[in-house]
Each structure stands twice: as C-alpha cells, then as structure tokens.
Symmetry: none
Subunit: 217 residues, 2 copies
C-alpha cells in the first residue's frame, strides 16, 4: 500500500506565465519522485494535456486569460475523480478558495507560499487529504470567527429564509407554499445557497445553519 511507486508522481503544470512555470517546475522536480509530464498555459490546453497524459496531480493557476481556471478544474474533476488537483492563485480570499474546492480542487495555496509549502500540499493531497497554505488557513479561520454570520452574509434575505426552512426540515414544496414561490424558484435558491456557501450536501447545509444560529436542534 505505502510502497513508493517506481515511476514517481506524474504532474501536469498549468500557468499562463512561462517564467512562473519554470520556477514551479524547478521546485517540483527537485523532489525526485515528482515528474512534470506536461505543461499548459491556458484552460483548454490544460484539459487537453490532462486527457493526453492522465497525470496523478494537476497543479494549476486559476487566474488565466480566457476560460476560467475553475472551469478547467470542473472539467478535469468530472472526467476523473481520482486525479488530485492543487490550485494556486494570487488571491487569498475565502470565497475564491471555497469556489475552488467546490469546483473539485483538493488543495489551494497562494503564490506567496514558500516552495516547501507547495511540496507539502502536494504530498498531502496525494494522501487524499485536503491542503491549504498557511495564509489561506488564517483567512478562513478569521472569517469563521467574524461576528457576522460568516458564511451567511453572502446570502440575501430570501436565501437565508429558505436555508432556515431547509434546515428546519421543510420540503421544497412546503417552502414554496410558505413563501408563496414556485417550486422552481425554491429549487434554484437551494442550489444557489449550496454553491454560495460551498456546501455539497443538505446535511452540510443543516450544520452550517445551526452553526450560524439560523436553526436549532
């Protein structure tokens, strides 16, 4: 199980800036079990390279011209659930990070992170863990402590009300009836709430609502 693979870990490196790619390639290949098998400088090429090389790990900048890097992450994730995806970005915003994980990323580090942190993150996601760099951790931690509803202040009143009722156990139909909305609208809100908050299941939504004091048990 834990024996190192003889061929090492194949990596696809994606960044629109060649110099940056060079830098990362050097850092990555300094690990002798890491092997950068391909590079790409845009989302479309990244997806093509992914299909061609089936790398174990994709390391990509999500800030690229053209199609969003997040879109590439989604594409790759929908094609393979086993590929590990590490996103790096200059952004250190909670929403951005959540969006990346929601799109299917396994890790997120900022470009300001030390090389050792990048390596550590890659080894973590290979083990199946989720990885974030220290500065991201700090931002997310502080955000979760903020006095406002943290994940809730990104939601509108309607969204909050619907989340509250969802967490209370109401069905889509009941909510639609309670608020005098069409089922379709409630479904759309339900989906929107999930994407905005980064929650993937209704159970996670309930936990969020309870944490934010929206619902009780």
């Amino acid at each position: 199980m834990t024996a190192p693979q003889t061929q090492g870990i194949s990596i696809l490196l994606v960044d629109d800036h060649p110099v940056v790619r060079q830098g990362y390639r050097r850092v990555l290949e300094h690990q002798d079990d890491f092997h950068v098998v391909a590079e790409a400088d845009n989302a479309a090429d990244a997806y093509r390279a992914f299909k061609a090389h089936a790398p174990a790990v994709v390391v990509m900048d999500i800030l690229m011209p053209g199609a969003s890097g997040l879109e590439a992450v989604r594409n790759i994730r929908s094609r393979s659930s086993s590929t590990r995806i590490l996103v790096f970005s200059m952004h250190c915003e909670a929403a951005q990070v959540k969006a990346a994980f929601n799109a299917g990323a396994n890790g997120y580090v900022t470009k300001g992170s030390a090389p050792a942190e990048l390596i550590r993150a890659i080894r973590a996601i290979i083990r199946g863990e989720q990885a974030i760099s220290d500065d991201i951790a700090r931002v997310l931690a502080l955000e979760s402590l903020s006095p406002s509803g943290s994940a809730l202040d990104q939601l509108g009143e309607r969204e909050i009300e619907i989340l509250r009722q969802l967490a209370a156990g109401a069905t889509t139909e009941q909510i639609a009836a309670n608020l005098n909305l069409s089922i379709k609208t409630v479904q759309n809100y339900h989906y929107l709430i999930k994407t905005k908050t980064g929650m993937r299941t209704d159970a996670q939504l309930v936990r969020l609502a309870v944490e934010c004091g929206l619902a009780s048990l």
Copy 2:
C-alpha cells in the same frame, strides 16, 4: 429588577376544552399576581388573542383540533421573543417535548401534573428558565440513557453507519468509498433509512441523527 410588577403577570390561556380552561383559570388566578387576560380554544384564536393582549405568558395545550398548537407556538415566537410560552399536553413522549421546545416553547408540563407544578413551571419560565414537569424529566432522562436512540433500533448496523456519515455531511460517493459499497447500495440505504424513520428530507435525517447521539454539531 426583582420587584413584582404592580399589574401582575398577564396570561393567555389556550385549550380546546372549556372545562379544562375553567380548571386552569381557577388554579392560575389563585395566585394573586397572575391574571388571565384572555382565553382561546384554537390555534388561530390563540394567535389573534396574543396579538390583541400581548400577554407576558401563554399557557397552551398543543393538542387541539385544526391547526397544530405547535404552529401557534411558532407564530407567537416569531412575533415576540420575550413572551414566555408554557405548553401542556397529555403526551409524555420525548419527541413531542423536543418538538415543542424546538417550536419556541419555554416550558412543557403534562396535564397530569399537580397544580403546584404548573405554578412552579410558570414562575420558572418568567425567570427566563426552561421548565418541564417531573414526569417529562423522567422520560427525557431515561431516553437519554437508553442504549438505542428509540428511532434508531429499527435500523440495522449498516443503516446506522450510513445515517451517521450522511449526517456528518458525507456525499453518497464518499460513503460508498468509505464502506466499500456501490453507490447504488448507498442510495438504497439512504432511501430505506428515510422510509423506516419516516423522515422526508435529509435535513430531518440530520436532526434525527443528532437527537439520537449519532452525530454532533
């Protein structure tokens, strides 16, 4: 702060049975600082009377024809967070009691309780405490000690484990991977758990799991 209010404590009394109301009115007005300012015999009238009289305390039976008494509790609670609501019922079941507190009740006594217990409960909730009668306390205490979570002993081990992971926020895929089952099997269990427990949404499942000590928040 602790000085008795000169006008005493205003009470709204709700029960669908006139004779029962008479009995309670007598017991309540035997306390000279208690004053029953209104009565109602159904949920809708209760809510109207509440808006009209703004009583300090609402004493209501939740077992009434028509709209659920719980619904009335919720309505009153959403209108005023300071009003104290004491629920009384013939039922002495843990689930019923929890539902009442969840709806916003401050206290719960059974109809079998002695008058002194009712008075004690009202004085307790006026002080901002939560109050339950002795028999309720015994039921809740025993339930919390019982090895099986009541609604859970109708579930098999596999079902319980899957419910636990669902409540923890795991996706179907993650559960299937964790337990080495097919997604199809997890879906079937998920459905089976819902039908066996009578829960209609995943949010309700989470609540159930938490109540039964299967999950925490």
